[in-house]
């Protein structure tokens, strides 16, 4: 028996786990292929153009850290080759599985029929070893997307950029165009990472508050402030440094498959306009991206054009994409710096007129504790107002599911905050202009102008101690699907009842994020919801059949933070 969880081979006996581990270990069967990051000064991952693609999923010996490991590659490359398609074309992708385990590729953000979506267990059973599966669909959109394994192989290297050229050329011409794929690599097997987290939620968190931190606070703020600062966290058994489940304790952060020391370099000369297509291809890492010395003009997110907005920095979650345009002022080198949200490490590359140049690499910022607003949402503002004797319109109360009062759920937020203009923990008041969702406005407005006819409230819940992640306190296995009527317009309201930021990805249908008073804000396929935050998006049930809706943190998805959505 080999039941599949979206590709994760699982049984109650642990048998298939052993098989999985063996499969990962006994693999030096293919000839040595140079890992992509070692391809000298190659400034972009290799590229394939459609409408016909032949992709072979293979095991690939790599060495990112000084230790040899086996990665999952496409056509011998990590990241997988960049796929270039044309809007309006019907593309054919023949994917051959040369692994010893089932695999599946999902075209992240593309609107495709159910059978072409690449989610094992929902779209199809997956691609068995030795088999070829042919994906064929019409490309009805343009922009920057990506593709990845909808299995644990997403952690071991199966991800790549997917760019759809517009039918009518983009008026915003640039001189250079690079995909910048940000990812996280571990020498451990993804199953080992998952098991470590299941046994100890804080396994990779080496930034927990210490006695030393306490006395530092005592000396700077006094005893009562220092005790008060810890009181709520300690009463609630929550960690103020629980930013990421997995840290640089095991991760090496990659830019286009290149560790920081390898310095991936994109060539750009003085005066040139450069489009950088940032892709959040990590499994458990939010990156905060900036290029010291260069302002970034954000022109699109999740493949959708937005009104250009100038920032110094932006946060990109797993699953999201951002197109950014920079203008090279001179022939100097500029560092593309992507620090992990937990500040334990960074991915790094360079824009420079010649290969081999580099600029100063900043140090990661000091980690900032989660805020009380990350736990209590709008209660913080309420109390502040109450303290000043002011009257405030009470914020809208969340409606918790009855299943949130059990062992799966360690906290609930009654009055979530609705502030889309919050850049999130670690980016608040950092002296830089940081992009927020409130800055993003999709050009052309909503695809479907109808107001939502009803609201679906879903809470993002977890139990960090036991590493249980769920929606409404119910794991996928125990949950019923969310049903949408064909072509109905609904509002999905997400309330984050946890201390972590969750990038929520709905397959095959656009998520049109709403701003204040339900006004259309930005169209996305992956929406990051901050701790204690409420976010609403409108969706039209225009994808008949079954789709996946899940947290794009791989280990949260594996733990159960996942729903099926049925349009019928």
């Amino acid at each position: 028996m080999q039941p599949e969880l979206f590709g994760l081979p699982i049984t109650a006996s642990g048998l298939s786990r052993r098989r999985f581990l063996q499969g990962a270990a006994a693999t030096f069967v293919l000839g040595w292929q140079r890992p992509a990051w070692a391809q000298g000064e190659a400034s972009a991952p290799s590229e394939l153009s459609g409408p016909d693609f032949d992709l072979e999923v293979v095991e690939l010996p790599v060495n990112f850290t000084g230790s040899k490991r086996v990665a999952t590659a496409v056509n011998g490359l990590v990241p997988a080759p960049l796929l270039r398609m044309r809007e309006g074309d019907t593309v054919t992708l023949r994917v051959t599985n040369r692994l010893r385990e089932v695999t599946a590729i999902h075209w992240h953000g593309l609107i495709v029929p159910q059978a072409m979506d690449g989610v094992p267990g929902i779209s199809f059973p997956g691609i068995a070893p030795g088999e070829t599966f042919t994906y064929r669909f019409e490309v009805r959109q343009n922009g920057t997307y990506w593709y990845h394994a909808h299995t644990l192989a997403e952690q071991t290297g199966l991800y790549g950029a997917l760019i759809v050229e517009p039918r009518t050329p983009d008026p915003d011409r640039t001189d250079r165009d690079y995909a910048v794929v940000l990812s996280d690599w571990t020498d451990e097997s993804p199953m080992q990472v998952f098991l470590n987290l299941k046994k100890m939620g804080a396994y990779y968190n080496f930034a927990q508050p210490t006695v030393g931190d306490f006395f530092k606070d005592v000396s700077s703020q006094g005893w009562s402030k220092a005790i008060e600062k810890r009181g709520m966290w300690n009463r609630m058994r929550m960690s103020p440094t629980d930013f990421s489940d997995v840290s640089a304790a095991t991760y090496t952060y990659l830019m286009n498959g290149t560790p920081p020391g390898g310095n991936w370099t994109g060539i750009a000369r003085a005066g040139e306009r450069v489009r950088l297509r940032f892709i959040g291809a990590s499994t458990a890492t939010f990156f905060d991206v900036r290029i010291p010395g260069l302002p970034l003009t954000v022109v699109s997110t999740d493949g959708q054009h937005v009104e250009p907005v100038d920032v110094d920095e932006f946060r990109i979650g797993p699953g999201e994409t951002y197109d950014v345009i920079v203008q090279m002022p001179d022939d100097r080198a500029y560092t593309i710096f992507a620090q992990s949200m937990d500040r334990t490490g960074f991915a790094r590359g360079t824009l420079a007129p010649r290969p081999g140049m580099e600029a100063e690499v900043p140090r990661p910022d000091a980690p900032v504790w989660l805020d009380h607003s990350d736990m209590m949402g709008a209660m913080v503002a309420m109390q502040a107002h109450a303290g000043h004797g002011m009257v405030m319109t009470p914020p809208k109360q969340a409606r918790h599911a009855r299943t949130e009062y059990g062992p799966t759920t360690d906290m609930r937020v009654d009055y979530p905050r609705d502030n889309l203009d919050d850049p999130g923990v670690g980016l608040r008041q950092n002296g830089r202009r940081v992009l927020t969702y409130a800055d993003l406005h999709t050009i052309g407005g909503a695809l479907d102008p109808r107001p939502p006819a009803r609201e679906i409230e879903v809470h993002l819940t977890g139990n960090m101690e036991r590493f249980i992640w769920a929606l409404d306190g119910v794991k996928l296995s125990d949950a019923k699907p969310i049903h949408l009527h064909p072509n109905e317009r609904v509002r999905v309201t997400l309330v984050n009842d946890s201390m972590m930021t969750h990038p929520m990805h709905l397959h095959r249908m656009w998520s049109e994020l709403e701003g204040a008073e339900g006004r259309f804000q930005v169209r996305k396929h992956t929406i990051s919801v901050q701790p204690a935050q409420r976010v609403s998006f409108a969706v039209t049930g225009d994808a008949p059949g079954r789709s996946a809706f899940h947290c794009h943190l791989l280990y949260h998805m594996a733990a159960g933070m996942f729903r099926e959505v049925v349009v019928a």
């Binding site: 006695v211 058994r237 009062y405």
Partner: protein, 289 residues
């Protein structure tokens, strides 16, 4: 007749004490699970609303299946049902003290999913003298009762002379302020009662240098001369251990344990010319996988 009367009284007193030990823990447990005194959303005295603690769910809580309209999830086995095996050697140490030298262990192995696990626990101390009376193995069913608390039910079997077989029932969990608590009540095959309470706290000097302070106490309703146990509170064990986490799963440590015995147990020890209060230096390794 009078002797019997005294013995009954004594038993009752000890039973009351056992009950108290359990009740203190149960109280902490219950606080979280039955404090529905403030409706969800009302700020309580701490000003935290219902995010703190585990208030009971309101009667009109939302139905998570309300959006399914009768559709069912396709039957598959997912990773969220994964049964996981784990092993923890909390204490695995060489001891040297006023009772001689030997070894001490606290081991636990579990297998199961998020809500139910089979658990084996064993603890013991074998020094120059007889086996420590707490030396035992337990087979338990653990049930995740709430976010931070679980219940255990099962059987304990002692090692050494005067060993009993006990029914075990208890709670374990993480209390506010990060105290790991573990309270187990036992009913022996001949009706005798006992209780074991454990508490521990990890103090992080750094994220690798960690001082773990552990406390354990055992209470018995009846004396067991073969194990040199009197009735009443038998012992208290306080042991700080300083470990260095070379990795999460491998942490050597040194520690010191101070263990006074009380009442009848102390009398037995005096009679046997053993020290009433044991103290020992320990060197060991904390392991898990």
């Amino acid at each position: 007749m009078k002797l019997l009367h005294i013995e009954i009284q004594r038993c009752l007193r000890v039973a009351a004490l056992c009950a108290m030990v359990l009740l203190v823990s149960a109280r902490l447990f219950a606080q979280e699970h039955a404090s529905g005194s403030h409706p969800s959303g009302q700020a309580d005295s701490t000003g935290l609303g219902s995010t703190e603690g585990q208030p009971q769910r309101p009667a009109d809580a939302r139905d998570p299946d309300a959006y399914a309209d009768g559709f069912e999830h396709m039957g598959m086995t997912h990773a969220d049902r994964l049964a996981i095996g784990s092993m923890l050697a909390e204490e695995l140490e060489f001891v040297s003290g006023n009772e001689g030298q030997g070894g001490n262990w606290h081991l636990q192995a579990s297998y199961g999913g998020d809500f139910n696990k089979f658990r084996l626990r064993s603890q013991g101390l074998a020094a120059d003298g007889p086996l420590d009376p707490t030396t035992s193995v337990e087979g338990l069913w653990w049930h995740g009762y709430s976010a931070f608390w679980g219940t255990v039910v099962g059987i304990r079997r002692d090692f050494g002379p005067g060993a009993h077989t006990w029914l075990a029932f208890g709670i374990e969990g993480l209390s506010p302020y990060w105290f790991h608590l573990n309270a187990t009540g036992y009913v022996g095959e001949d009706g005798r009662l006992s209780a074991r309470l454990k508490a521990s706290y990890d103090l992080l000097f750094t994220n690798r240098w960690i001082l773990s302070a552990a406390l354990e106490s055992n209470v018995y309703s009846r004396a067991e001369p073969d194990r040199a146990l009197g009735s009443g509170v038998g012992n208290l064990e306080i042991g700080p251990r300083l470990r260095y986490e070379v990795s999460r799963k491998f942490a050597p440590y040194v520690g010191y344990v101070w263990e006074p015995s009380f009442a009848g147990t102390a009398d037995f020890r005096r009679a046997d010319r053993h020290p009433v209060t044991e103290h020992r230096l320990v060197v060991g390794v904390r392991l898990w996988r």
